[in-house]
Amino acid sequence: MTERTSGLTDEQIGERLTELGDLISWPPTPDLAGAVSATIRDERGAPTLIAPRLSLPSRRRTLLLIAAALLALAGAALATRLVIELGAVGVEVLPGRPTSLPPHVAKPGDLGREIDVSDADVIAGFPAALPAALGPPARAWIDTAQVDPESNATATRVVTAWRPTAELTEIPGTGVGAVLMQFEGPWQVASKLLSAETNRFGIVFVNGRDAFWTTGTHELQLVSGSTVQRHLVNGNVVIWEEAGFTFRLESLLGKRAAIRLAETVQPLIDLG
């Protein structure tokens, strides 16, 4: 480097870089305005997956009461879609039969990074919870969903699975007998799409709190990073909220047995 060049001030180099901005052969900018507004118009009719919401207990209670009343009237006669919000999971019940279910259940690699369950608390940054009645899980995964594009904030999901046993029949296609998903925070990062004609569903109670129960094959959408994954679900599912988390327990257990199992869920640290 010459003395003259090395003598350029920051301001002088900055001026040259600014000039350079005009001289660079930038890739041509695509016209995205129409595509963006078309996407928004398409999506406005559908539930948004990443939807930070007011998580007011009274609002939730009202929604669930309305949902319960509608569900009592629903069955095959449901004429319009029904949307229920339960913590991190949104449930949408569509009239009629499903038109396009995903072809496969979630594979292990779809559930995030596999971890040792004993490390879950440290990795997740919150106390992972497990059903005491089942003992230690066979496998555990952790994943994050982008929930705020502005700050790039994420919400964490811990998934645990148990092998089939005499009491826990294998969920078809999964190789496991039970799957528990624990979602952090109030952001809606999962959605279930049910069909009024092919799924049974209803409001139940877990530890005295409102919960949602469904049976029958349906679609589960999970936000992973900033993408949405679609998975087929063959098990029975109970969803409930507790201590700032949303839990989703899938198995082939009947409603009462599944609720009893859900009510044994407690933080891993309390399980010793």
Partner: protein, 203 residues
């Protein structure tokens, strides 16, 4: 500048009063108002995304997804705040998320617009760079670590203010100052021992 851009991103100062009105209408559900904001800022947004991912397709997807996410995030946008740095930050975040998995990156992505060797580029009054010098600067920029290259590109090539650069990078303005200072020092060291560059000082 070359390329058949549908939106020349310069000037990139933003149009605060028009933005405030468009943002307010978009928050009320006026997608057309938001479309106008996309049209206004897609040029600079695309360049920010491209600088991060270095892949046209990925940059296009990142910008489109970022604007859609921004639309749904409008209820949390502070009324009256400048829209441009806010959207550019979302774009940069989206691009960074994609850059981790980007399949193919454009090679020497910054190329000085083609012209005869040694030809003085048509540029604004008072311009001092000729093609050789510009190419030397590009090569030097490309050799810098990504963090240095990003801060220099945002601040100078795209002419964002320090505050906007800070917003896009998700750091404090003071951090931008210090990063710029270090990046300029490294760039100065990377610029080849070029006679033509030395001549620049004599003009």
């Amino acid at each position: 500048m070359t390329g058949d851009d549908v939106n020349d991103p310069r000037p990139v100062e933003g149009r605060p009063s028009e933005d405030v009105d468009a943002v307010a209408r978009a928050r009320d559900g006026d997608v057309g108002a938001f479309e106008a904001l996309v049209a206004r800022y897609q040029g600079v947004a695309f360049r920010v995304a491209w600088l991060v991912v270095r892949n046209r397709g990925e940059a296009e997807d990142a910008v489109q997804d970022a604007f859609v996410k921004a639309y749904y995030a409008l209820p949390r946008f502070r009324p009256g705040a400048p829209f441009r740095p806010w959207i550019l930050r979302i774009v940069a975040n989206e691009a960074r998320n994609r850059s981790r998995s980007a399949r193919r990156r454009d090679g020497l992505a910054m190329r000085v617009a083609a012209s005869e060797p040694g030809q003085v580029m048509p540029s604004p009054e008072g311009a001092v760079l000729d093609r050789t010098e510009a190419e030397a600067l590009v090569l030097a920029l490309e050799r810098l670590p990504e963090r240095d290259r990003h801060v220099l590109a945002l601040r100078y090539l795209l002419e964002l203010s320090e505050a906007e650069t800070a917003e896009v990078l998700g750091v404090r303005p003071g951090t931008v100052k210090s990063r710029l200072s270090r990046a300029l020092a490294r760039l100065r060291a990377e610029v080849p021992n070029s006679a033509s560059f030395a001549e620049v000082d004599e003009r």
